[in-house]
Symmetry: C2
Subunit: 426 residues, 2 copies
């Protein structure tokens, strides 16, 4: 099924290219709306990709041994990029197209900091200024992430900030507000609209972001081809959907064309179960209702998830492309608990050596559960998951887990109902 | 010239294999004393190497552009390993040979934490226990490094600790002592000698460590061969010498055989200028005078360098192999100031994206100086340096640099004279 169109937040009529022009460059708007299957990667973007790509496709032999499973487990490792995650894959082309359009500064929001770090590096590479609104509680919990962005020359505000009308409003009416991605997006968009030569960039959710991330899956297909393999199951963690769609979409093409019957699993936290408990409906992308209204799985734009350590997965909505594919049954989803995630991530670290980001731990857990299933059924499935980032900035979270300080918070129906009560009438 | 033999610290006579048996397994002692040019890598070690090797050899096109140099700059990137540095290359075989000898626990010291992190991962991989004595001031400055080791199941003591007689002695006589690598080594050795099934492991200096690290240079030769290139200059930072020797020795073979005239530069901090200001003489490897006496460049085993941010380069001595090769004129050395290092490391981060460890920043600075020289002479030199580790755990240091809080401390002749006054009479 085709996507339902995004709606203009004021008129609630289908958005046209002009609606996006105040914050995005023409080339990205064209990609956002394109029906083309493939879009060429510009040479200048490839030049920077080459500094860290192709990322390795690694077979987790030692994890397989520990699980004593007949399954073959592979992972694509995006954590060895300069920014430490897959986010750089879209930061580079987004900055490139903005620069080509004459833009001199880019604003954005960041939660855990992976996206802000990536955009800071990309802006520095192309000589653009970068302003990041970092969710206040994350900035406090992860001071190193903030210092990382400063090292790459970015300007970093804790959100809600005094720098925007939206931020000042929250600080006045709710002085203890710890910040959310929704508020930070509103601040970054307001900043971009209010300044000349300034655009806004988003690290997930939008179609052009998913497009840029498909380089992960494209590479994986080539790499599997070299060893004459193909995955039976493709797994990724899911916040807004970009690392999941990045690895899944190229394989999904084969399935949609009837060549393969690969299974796809998007893994989300139980504390923010957008795909598994949310509603497939039109909703705003931000708390301030400034973004277009998108048809997606959502928990409501005012939903505030509990403070789990996987800050990158605490978004109320999801990619429209991913949502439609889930709704149509091509992609499966599951929600998992935080303590199980850290247990799986620690087992992975102990066997494969690499310390995963808590976000990526969600994908690891699902891969392990799949491999354990194979042990019972005897199936020799080939499992692929995306290890979207390293956990070097998440040591406090691992410490909390090992000290027994992490608890799983049950997701309440009341909370869901409150979130969904705010959906816009369209 | 052949190496002068290590001496037994009690008898001061040439050490024999038996002298090392209380703390090292037979296979590593054999490697330490071997005259073989090549030693086979065991399959079990290769299996783990394969989870992260070969590491990439990357041409720094964007750094070249920024410098506007005719030189071609390549770097071997060891920072994308699970431990974040080259240290894992020797941790894995050391733990493997210890396990083969029936050892169940390994003790070690760590300064900045790169070595302790690597040994923790390797011990967990082979199922051995790991005890790390971490220099107290580093443990306070880098809490994430300590948490990293704990996540891999290691036991971590701040050194000087209450766990050894040597540590208790320092704590009693000098309660404010911030710890040094020399003291931490003494503690780790005492712990190993005093417990059954327990050995000690060292992350640098010894011959077998240099041997294990040569996989870096061996890979680089193969990778250069694929693009029909060969370096005119090979550069590495230098504390005990392991990352430098790892990349340099395989290329040095061609030079010693008269096939190439490659230049080699070991780069050390001005605050701890072992190769450039130290004496080529016999000295202890540790403050407690428990290790064999080694013929090497040294600043004296009681020398306490200023608290620079490149904690991995604050060792009073150097590899005997490297020292002899420097003494004989095959390897050059230079000492550089900390502020220049951070300036170079920041330029590298801004152009190539990767945030380097302050230690590795020393090699970057020397490579940049070499490339700038080429700009003046017009020479199109091929420059290779080893990017030994990432700087994700060093954000506080980068913050201090950007805030103008880092000062260069001049190295005093008095300090040098005091250190050298303590050399043993042999």
């Amino acid at each position: 099924n085709k996507l339902a169109p995004p709606l203009n937040p004021q008129t609630k009529k289908p958005a046209v290219a002009e609606d996006f022009l105040p914050i995005f460059p023409p080339a990205l708007i064209e990609q956002e709306m394109s029906m083309e299957r493939y879009i060429e990667i510009p040479e200048e973007v490839m030049d920077i990709y080459k500094t860290y790509r192709a990322t390795p496709l690694i077979r987790a032999y030692r994890l397989e041994d520990a699980l004593n499973t007949p399954a073959r487990i592979y992972f694509k490792y995006e954590g060895a990029t300069p920014s430490g995650s897959h986010k750089l894959n879209t930061a580079i082309p987004q900055v490139y197209y903005n620069k080509a359009a004459g833009i001199r500064r880019i604003t954005t929001e960041t939660g855990a900091g992976q996206w802000g770090a990536a955009l800071s590096i990309a802006c520095k590479s192309f000589g653009l200024d970068c302003t990041v609104y970092m969710v206040k509680v994350s900035a406090q919990q992860k001071p190193y992430r903030k210092l990382f962005m400063l090292t790459y020359g970015a300007q970093v505000f804790s959100s809600p900030s005094e720098n925007t009308a939206a931020g000042r409003h929250v600080r006045k009416t709710d002085p203890d507000n710890p910040g959310t991605l929704g508020i930070a997006i509103t601040e970054a968009v307001e900043d971009a609209i209010g300044h000349s030569n300034t655009n806004y960039a988003l690290g997930s959710v939008l179609n052009h972001v998913m497009l840029h991330q498909t380089i992960i899956g494209q590479e994986a297909i080539t790499q599997f081809g070299l060893i004459d393999e193909y995955p039976d199951v493709v797994i990724g963690c899911c916040g807004g959907g970009s690392n999941f769609c990045g690895i899944a979409f190229p394989f999904l093409k084969d399935r949609l064309e009837g060549k393969r019957d690969t299974e796809f699993i998007a893994v989300e936290p139980s504390a923010c179960p957008t795909l598994t408990r949310g509603k497939f409906a039109y909703d705003y992308g931000d708390t301030g209702m400034m973004t277009p209204i998108i048809n997606m799985y959502t928990l409501g734009h005012n939903f505030v998830p509990d403070g789990i350590h996987a800050g990158g997965l605490r978004y109320h909505g999801d990619s429209a492309l991913l949502s439609q594919l889930c709704y149509d049954g091509f992609i499966g989803a599951k929600a998992v608990h935080q303590t199980d995630v850290f247990k799986a991530a620690t087992l992975f670290a102990h066997t494969e050596g690499i310390l995963p980001a808590p976000e990526s731990g969600h994908a690891i857990l699902a891969a392990i559960e799949e491999a354990e299933q194979c042990k019972h059924t005897g199936q020799e499935k080939t499992i692929l998951f995306n290890l979207s980032g390293h956990g070097f900035f998440d040591m406090a979270a691992y410490d909390a887990y090992q000290s027994g300080l992490i608890k799983d918070v049950p997701f309440s129906d009341e909370k869901l109902a409150r979130g969904l009560a705010d959906l816009p009438q369209v």
